[in-house]
């Protein structure tokens, strides 16, 4: 099967407009007879559900949490990008497009990214109309901040809780449709398989997580909006329940999985502390607007820090190495995430890590506190040489900008970040890879769509900060509602899809058998035992730096671990009740397959690009070395049983509107 991206003809700038003018529409009376299943209620799934229901379709939405408002988009902190150019600093649709393609290390699809940049401004308008309380300046207009990898201020925000506010906006739009009966919301449900009838996605099998009942749900199209697979690493900034099960089941039913090795390791997370640790906590990239990252210049200071004989504030300015400012003067502390993470790892590997584990660097706000404090003192007519007063005034400004983040840090680490620098280290945060989709956001299965983090299309090999929220909402509010209509226009005569077909029988039987196998497998190890082992293999061998040997080892180790899991895992209780261990087991079983494909993909890609860094392919200065001649393509994997047997399909990438260059932030 050949991959067809279905990118419309014409100039880049006209593609989306022409596309919208020429697609088939479904009239309002017919929309009432068409059902759509949406799996996941984060920014992508929530916005899609609401918009499709507004249009008149009957939406059946599913989430594993107790309410759609809990989806992990809620935890996104820093902001959302949009090419509004409210700051008059030279921003434009093209510039947002350019930054995103460059930031993604030239591994994304041009037409999709341009469309994303094009609709970005509509998102801000829509959210404000919904009553999303974005930050404003004293004139009452919207405020902006900067994020990594760009030279303009285009990020809209609501303190450090932008994801929460945007998700609650989508949730409120959903609620309006739930009240009208246009969305049937299924909380505490988990999708466990896709049902395909005559080559088209026509429904799902879901488990009611309260009663354990296995249910059949049918629809004319199915949308996967279930997020990314960062939890394959066990420790990540994802929610505990974030999983790849829906996406992986789609893959096993024919949807190609694209670029699984593209993972974002976020540079500013709270370092790990012990074996019991269940997850890692992000400190927003927005902190790099004001925080400066450093380690000591001298090993003796490192030793003294680790022994506790000195503290960070005792190290003089001259003895600090602000390594991002040193290596990347043009972008400084605001280099993209992949670059910042590798630089932190480089310093820590060289022995300059500032905590006991040797895996931490400082993120320091003292300069910002002083700068803001002096400004405030001037504005208020106070003495700007009074150090205590300046510190107090500056602290207030920093608190107003990042208060909730500082509070989170203090609660976890038990240190006051207003007085001592934060300690941070990179952690798994986001997955750029995902289900392969064409321009319509349709997967390689007819009628099966993937949106938001679950698909692969917009971020290439590295996502820029504040672009995940943009993509999730763009897909859900402004792209899918058009593209899915074009497909469904062929379904106006189909009528309701029955759930009593043999395809539903077979899918349900498979799901039940798998659950019974897990629950009756009276082994000796807990689910977390396997999840932690998988996480360690992934972090050590498929993490920030990868090698051919490491990846080969990872493939065989994961395969072995998977076999061990199916033989020796133990799950308490039974399947006809709320059983959180059983839920976890199903998810970890899927991660144990996905992880192997991940390693295979990383092994096949003999280059370094974005979040995928192969030690064999680096410049002398340690920067990623891309190979555009041989690897300028999307790797889309077709399922063939064992992950190691997956077949590679290549979607060649061509760049007609952007010059492909070495990505430099110096």
């Amino acid at each position: 099967m050949k991959l067809d991206s279905k990118v419309p003809e014409g100039n880049l700038k006209d593609k989306w407009t022409n596309y919208k003018d020429s697609i088939n529409l479904v009239n309002p009376a017919n929309k009432r007879n068409i059902d759509i299943i949406v799996v996941g209620t984060g920014l992508a799934g929530g916005s899609a559900s609401a918009t499709l229901a507004e249009l008149g379709y009957n939406v059946k939405a599913f989430c594993y949490q107790d309410s759609p408002r809990r989806a992990h988009s809620i935890a996104a902190q820093g902001g959302i990008n949009a090419a509004k150019n409210y700051q008059g600093d030279g921003d434009s649709t093209y510039r947002l497009f350019y930054d995103t393609v460059k930031g993604g290390d030239y591994r994304s699809r041009e037409a999709n990214v341009f469309r994303l940049a094009e609709v970005s401004t509509n998102i801000i308008d829509q959210c404000v109309a919904q009553g999303v309380p974005f930050a404003r300046d004293y004139g009452g207009l919207l405020d902006n901040r900067s994020f990594g990898g760009v030279l303009v201020s285009r990020t809209f925000y609501a303190k450090g809780q932008t994801g929460q506010q945007l998700l609650l906006g989508a949730y409120s739009a959903m609620n309006r449709q739930i009240a009208r009966g246009k969305i049937k919301m299924n909380n505490r449900h988990e999708m466990l398989d896709i049902v395909i009838v005559d080559g088209k996605a026509r429904g799902i099998i879901a488990r009611n997580l309260v009663t354990g009942e296995i249910e059949r749900h049918s629809a004319h199209a199915v949308v996967i909006a279930s997020g990314g697979y960062g939890n394959v690493y066990f420790l990540s900034t994802n929610a505990m329940g974030s999983n790849a099960t829906a996406a992986w089941k789609a893959h096993k039913k024919g949807a190609h999985f694209a670029n699984p090795c593209y993972t974002q390791i976020h540079p500013t997370c709270i370092p790990r502390s012990g074996d019991y640790q269940s997850k890692l906590t992000l400190m927003s990239e927005s902190l790099r607007n004001d925080g400066r990252i450093w380690v000591p210049k001298n090993k003796k200071d490192v030793d003294a820090l680790r022994n506790g004989t000195i503290r960070a504030v005792d190290i003089s300015e001259a003895d600090r190495d602000y390594y991002l400012e040193r290596r990347y003067p043009a972008f400084g502390n605001l280099v993209p995430r992949d670059v910042a993470s590798r630089a932190a790892k480089e310093r820590c590997d060289a022995g300059f890590g500032v905590n006991q584990t040797g895996e931490a660097v400082f993120l320091d706000f003292s300069a910002a506190i002083e700068r803001y404090g002096k400004e405030q003192a001037l504005l208020k007519g106070l003495d700007s040489n009074n150090k205590d007063k300046v510190k107090e005034l500056g602290t207030e400004i920093v608190r107003s900008k990042y208060g909730n983040l500082f509070q989170m840090y203090e609660k976890i680490v038990d240190e006051n970040p207003y007085q001592t620098p934060m300690m941070i280290y990179p952690a798994v945060h986001y997955t750029m890879g995902g289900i392969w989709v064409d321009y319509n956001l349709m997967t390689s299965v007819d009628g099966l769509y993937a949106i938001g983090e679950a698909n692969f299309s917009d971020h290439g090999a590295n996502r820029l900060g504040a672009s995940a929220l943009m993509q999730g909402l763009a897909d859900g509010y402004f792209v899918l509602p058009y593209t899915i209509g074009d497909y469904l226009s062929n379904d106006i005569r189909t009528g309701p899809i029955s759930t009593s077909s043999k395809e539903f029988d077979v899918a349900e039987k498979e799901v039940v058998e798998r659950i019974e196998k897990l629950i009756n497998n009276k082994g000796s190890n807990t689910v977390d035992h396997y999840h932690k082992k998988l996480g360690k293999i992934m972090w050590d061998k498929c993490g920030m730096a990868r090698t051919e040997k490491g990846l080969k080892d990872a493939m065989s180790e994961i395969k072995k671990l998977r076999e061990d899991f199916w033989e020796n895992v133990s799950i308490p209780g039974n399947s006809s009740e709320m059983n959180k261990e059983l839920e976890k087991a199903g998810r970890v079983a899927d991660f144990l397959e996905l992880g192997e494909l991940f390693a295979k993909d990383a092994l096949e890609r003999n280059e370094s690009c974005g979040g995928h860094f192969r030690e064999e392919y680096a410049t002398l200065e340690g920067e990623a070395e891309r190979d555009d001649k041989d690897f300028s393509y999307v790797s889309a994997w077709e399922y063939k049983g064992e992950p190691a047997d997956a077949i590679l399909h290549k979607e060649e990438l061509s760049f007609e509107n952007i010059e492909v260059k070495v990505r430099s932030y110096k």
Binding site: A50, E54, Q65, D66, S67, P68, R69, R70, I74, A75, K84, N122, D125, Q126, C127, V128, A129, Q130, G131, P133, F134, R136, D137, G139, G140, L141, L142, Q164, Q165, Y171, S172, A173, N175, R176, I178, A179, M185, N187, A239, M240, G241, G274, Y276, S278, K279, L282, Q407, M408, K411, I412, D414, Y477, F478, T526, D528, S570, P572, E577, M578, K580
Partner: protein, 250 residues
């Protein structure tokens, strides 16, 4: 440290439920409260016992999924945090810790420490939204300036995570703080004005219908709220509600 946990166990919604005692050893002060429960559950599974069911997801205090009534306080003894952000350094060696579900008639127990908060969603469905369709043709986001003070207050109200601590804490199981946070957010913004009267009436009526109690101004909700949602919101909602009832056409 070593602790003595007294945990509410209840097989399902129909079971009567009871407190069961679990000693736990070698708890690190750096663990979060839920990580301590993870360790307990691993031990229980290894012994062939059923682990304790509790709700949790983001583990960074924002999704609102975790709950727990710890030693008689929603989200435990620390202030301004959810249970997932509570750390064991707040306890000391030898402590006995009671762990119970959030309790309210409108929030029935599903299993162990898991409760059903769907009534809270239904209140939002009764009016917690601005009726604007997605079109790509709404007016420009900067067309209506909003005073920073109002935008900030609306944001503060909108930070409610819907965990239900206020309800569990209130002796009347009132949802006033929760409902008023949403009503306030919209009443402070021009976008929310058009439907303001209907919204407050519908949400308050739904709250009563779902079996939440009345507010008697004890202020306990504000104290236990992990996000510091202010009582000011309840006053604002009361004003909105009175105004809506006096001036309504119906």
């Amino acid at each position: 440290m070593n602790l003595n946990l007294k945990i509410w166990r209840q097989k399902d919604a129909n079971d009567k439920g009871k407190i069961v005692e679990y000693p736990i050893a070698n708890v690190s002060e750096h663990m979060s409260f839920l990580e301590m429960l993870d360790v307990l559950n691993e031990e229980l599974i290894e012994k062939g016992d059923e682990p304790v069911a509790f709700d949790h997801d983001c583990r960074e205090g924002i999704c609102g999924m975790c709950s727990l009534y710890i030693n008689g306080e929603a989200h435990g003894p620390d202030r301004g945090v959810t249970t997932c952000q509570l750390h064991m350094r707040k306890f000391k060696d030898g402590d006995t810790i009671f762990i119970e579900p959030f309790r309210a008639t409108a929030l029935p127990v599903v299993k162990d420490l898991v409760v059903d908060r769907s009534a809270m969603d239904r209140i939002q469905q009764a009016g917690g939204f601005v009726s604007v369709n997605t079109s790509g043709n709404t007016q420009d986001a900067n067309a209506i300036p909003i005073a920073k003070e109002n935008a900030d207050k609306a944001f503060d109200a909108a930070t409610c995570i819907g965990c239900g601590a206020c309800i569990a804490t209130c002796k009347n199981s009132s949802a006033m703080l929760y409902v008023s946070a949403k009503v306030s957010q919209f009443s402070l913004l021009p976008q929310g004005q058009v439907e303001a009267k209907e919204r407050v009436k519908n949400m308050v009526n739904k709250m009563d219908e779902e079996g939440f109690g009345n507010c008697t101004n004890t202020g306990a909700c504000e104290v236990e709220c992990p996000k510091g949602i202010s009582l000011e919101n309840i006053s604002r909602m009361n004003r909105e509600f009175l105004a809506a009832n006096f001036s309504s056409k119906k």
